[in-house]
Amino acid sequence: MSGEHRIGVFVCECGGNIGDVVDVPRVVEAVKGLEGVVYARRERYLCSKPSIARIREAIRRRGLNRVVLACCTPKMHRETFRTNIEEEGLNPQFLEIVNIREQCSWVHGDDPEGATQKALDLIRGAVERTKWSVALEAGEMEVTPAVLVIGGGVAGITASLRLAEYGLKVYLVEREPSIGGHMIKYPKVFPTLDCSQCILTPKMASVSQNRNIELLTYAEVRGITGVPGDFHVRVFLKPRGVNVEECIGCGTCSRVCPVETVDDYNEGLGKRKAAYIPFPQAVPSAYTIDFEACTRCGRCVEACPRGAIDLEDRGKEVELKVGAIILATGFQLYDMTRLPQYGYGKYPNVITSLQMERILDVTGPTGSRLIVPATGREVRSVAFILCAGSRDTEVGVPYCSRVCCLYAMKEAELLRDRGVEVWIHYIDIRAPGRRYEEFYRAAQEKGVHFVKGKVTEIIPEGDRALVRGEDMMLNAIIENPVDLVVLCPPIVTGEETLRLAEMLKVPVDEDQFVLERHPKLDPVATKRDGVFACGMVIGPKDIQSTTAEAEAAAMKAVNFLSRARRVEPNKAFLIDEDLCDGCGRCVEICPEGAITLEGGKAVINEVVCSGCGACIPECPREALDQHGLSEEQLKAQIRGILEGSEAEIKILAFLEETVVYTAADLAGLARLSYPSSIRILPLPSMSRLKMSHLLYAFAHGADGIMMLEAPEKEGPYGRAHVISEERAEEYQYEIEDHDVDGFRLWYSKVFVPDWRKLEKIFRTYDTLIRDEGPLDQEVREALLEELGEGPS
């Protein structure tokens, strides 16, 4: 504590919302007696203009240097109060808001005495805490006005064009020799049945012509460092054998090349040369040497009129600096050989939907003839198997792949146009969305047969494949021998994307799709600042939704890079270099990867640190602390809330401040009622708590302590929540070593929708502690001594 504290406290009655329960005049009188408080006042509506004017005046006239406001939840008016005291020249750190409405009057309506006592305790906590506050300034960081887009499918193409149009520098990295993704492989697209290549190739050409876009094809991202706003990306340009700038796309190399290999662009149907271009309209319009197949005969080198070929190409690495990243790496189909019951890879006349797309393409591997690719046999009947692995919690994937119903109908219609009998075996036809029901109807009009019932097995029958399944409409079994079976496999995320997500530190969900920052309200941002995602990489969807997401992601990136980034001051810091012995435990634990060791000392990157506080308890030498939530501040608040309280039972409830705190506010809003023994102290994450904080609280009067954490995917601090769970378990054992029973520490996770349950949790715990009685005075004294505070 330093300097003279001139603390002003304002207690709001909120009309009768607070005043009808809490005895505000009594609280104000009691507060006046607290050390450091030079001014205390009751207000009818603290958020009203006259009240705010009075706060400002008091700061000016009475020379207040700390302001404590006891009113509604800080989520309501914190910003207003903050700006006003800032305008009076007070640093925002010197403002404390105590929630005596949602956490006091609204939940203890039946216990005015308890509520009044608790209001006073909470205010005392804030008064004690504010004495330790120090002024802090938010930092600023310049951003790099460039964006890395990973994946050149329709999502990546759309996002790149939009960003370039805005004027940002774009690096578009695609692993294949050409951009275009899956869409370029389709002859037609649902629901309009327009020519896919006709609508996509102009966009691809714009990418190659746009000066703001640097296209890096046949490339992969190798590493990402730096911070949001200033990422450093290492990109490896795989050996391509052909100088893209020099190549004029004449195709001489391919003609002279003697080696044939599997054509992956055509989904493994048919062959191509080792010197190849995946498809004629490829962008960039340059050939590639497939070094896995190439025998290095050198004929192409001799033949190339431009001298563009280098068979010694080893690839090269480039480093890019960007401010934001858009992940658009799309999807792949589930490997159907893993579901042998469908006979894929075993029976020649079982193929995937993507292979069917290629067969239907006039430039496809069968030259637009409808034949079984492996046998050359003419195809006159086709059965599509929907949900071949989707919506199955036992094998395959549990979710719906969303596009299969529609593309199966699309392929079916194209087949009907050519006179083929088509059967679609489905569990449910899912065609919600604009123009989709109409598309379904059109398929029926064309005479596509629909059979409700899951097909689980394909049986070979001569040259044909027997599809056997239930017709659920009839309770009968259908046996249908067809020439070709088309499987509609699950849409899944590729291994490469998962590695990339790990590199980017963006979590994926249980279905392996990139997790949105918020699934409803922030669907194209990831959990990491500055990293956005669009298209199939965040879940199965059609081209229309993909494009909409790409536009949105581009907008988010523009927004993100539009101004210098504010760096909040709430960061962890190393108190003293000499204390740190370089053990590296903080480096290990930090969920953000914000800490590095430099010269054997921990260095915390202020921009990356999220302020979760997980590193602080980890340090065995107590060398770490946090700005805005220092050890002194935290302890002073704990002591203030507990010590001197007249309540019989005191339960200190630490609440995660984003999710759980909101749940507590909702419980208040709904006027649920829980015992006034519960005293809430918000923290960024429970991982900020040290064992010593708990002992400190017990020593100073807590009879029970609750740690209420946000569930992993809800809170903003990623793994910090997992860390706190593990620690709480240890703490429960450790407090027993200090003669405090394990049950005196409670840990659980609370979702926002759990707010009703919160009432029960609080009641249950209060009953438990009440039944067991307050903590022994002897134990408290022993703890005080142990903590070096002596008997109080």
Partner: protein
Amino acid sequence: MSTLLAGRVIRISERNGRFSERVKALSGEEIDLCFQCGGCSSACPMTSQMDLLPSKVMRLVQLGEEAVLKSRTPWICSTCFNCAARCPRGIDIANVMEALRQMLLRSKFDHLKLETVGREELREIPPIALISSLRKFTS
């Protein structure tokens, strides 16, 4: 309900396609549009007498399953057109019923055999009913 369906195996062959096409041609209805919502059956006043619900008749016709001709349902159908009024796909199911009856009648099949009608009954049935039944139910 129906022994026509339970546990049956329907094996698809070109014959099935031909049968559906004939019913389509005779009825003039776009049978493929039926998506088995069941609306016709809920609207039908005669289902308690039927061995197949109207929607199941539609399904069997879609699949080209000739066993549908053995069903009593087309004969029970009173041609009240309730089904047609309710079908969300605009199919006139009663027309399909008529087509099925016609297919049998054209093969010299009589659903109503006068000789099996007793004297007593003959006296009680109004002559007009008898005549229209003969029109509808005999070849």
